[in-house]
Symmetry: C2
Subunit: 201 residues, 2 copies
């Protein structure tokens, strides 16, 4: 596990991760090589070759790094109204327009996720990341049900459904020509439908 | 375009497509080679090398072949109740258990679709296939709205949303550990929610 070295030099690890991010945006997964990452890395290139067996080892560490950063930076509760909060999440997950860097990165993530179809290590990662995002959605829904903003739904099931919708929207938009405005409008409408109305028991 | 030869010998083309299907299930996209397809092909291997530049040319023709077959075999209208019909589609698209062959094939399709992130030819294909499936869903919803089985929704928008949900479910299940029963249950619940009730105008 290459983490040993980087624990002592967190700055270096962060630089490797930055280099990986740049190289991934530039080359995509299929055309990415360790050399391509090394080209973006300001320090000794041999460090990379010494510490990683191949590009997948770096990429898996990179995915883990992103997930850890997400977990550390997203506060547990930072909303007044659960539905408004979820609508805000839609703004990030299904933006109407993606900046070039964001689009390149989303493409790369879709390529990485496709590796999970045949590579257990990627499969394990995306199982974990799905769990993290689903749990976050579940907490928001659960809180909404408890404080009366959300209809009495099963937060586990709805969270899994919302994650599926987000995943499908992200997957479709970088692999086909889609009408993002229309899809986003339907997602927003679905979420509004979760709002507790006067008729709910 | 290799179609010229095969137009005269539709049987041979079908055999190439069969060989491609077998090889794709066996090897997945990343490890697939023309040789892998040739190994499944009962006729002259040189025919394949002569007529296709690389595996992507065969795979793109294969995807087109599947889409054409779908369009030719699915009848325009074969349902009494639109929602019941869509629930039936869920049975195919999000089966509780996939047979081994179906799972291998779904994995391969997800890998092929990921190519669309960086290869315009795959992007064009999946744009077209999304259009075909969305149009089919739209027709069912439109018919349902007209005959009163479905609430007065926008068939275009709901079709795009349903396609997004199907895509996300298929994508997630072959790239992570997911609770298919739960996701499927939520999809079924969403579709039931489209049914026209006494309160709808």
């Amino acid at each position: 596990m290459p983490g040993d070295l980087f624990d002592e030099a967190e700055g270096t690890r962060a630089e490797v991760m930055e280099a990986t991010y740049s190289a991934l945006r530039k080359h995509g997964y299929a055309d990415l090589t360790i050399q391509g990452i090394a080209d973006e890395f300001p320090k000794s290139k041999s460090l990379l070759y010494h510490h990683y067996e191949g590009k997948d080892e770096i990429l898996l560490e990179f995915l883990d790094y992103l997930l850890t950063r997400y977990r550390e930076t997203v506060p547990e509760r930072d909303f007044d109204d659960a539905i408004d909060h979820l609508q805000g999440v839609v703004g990030y997950v299904v933006p109407l327009n993606m900046e070039e860097g964001q689009e390149d990165f989303t493409r790369a993530v879709i390529e990485l996720r496709a590796q999970a179809a045949n590579d257990e290590r990627y499969h394990d990662h995306f199982t974990r990341s799905d769990q993290v995002f689903r749990e976050r959605l579940r907490e928001v829904l659960q809180q909404g049900v408890e404080d009366g903003a959300v209809r009495p739904v099963d937060p586990d099931a709805v969270a899994d459904f919302v994650l599926t919708v987000f995943d499908g929207a992200m997957h479709r938009r970088v692999t086909a020509e889609v009408d993002v405005t229309r899809i986003r409008g339907e997602i927003q409408g679905y979420l509004e439908g979760l709002r507790r109305s006067g008729n709910d028991g």
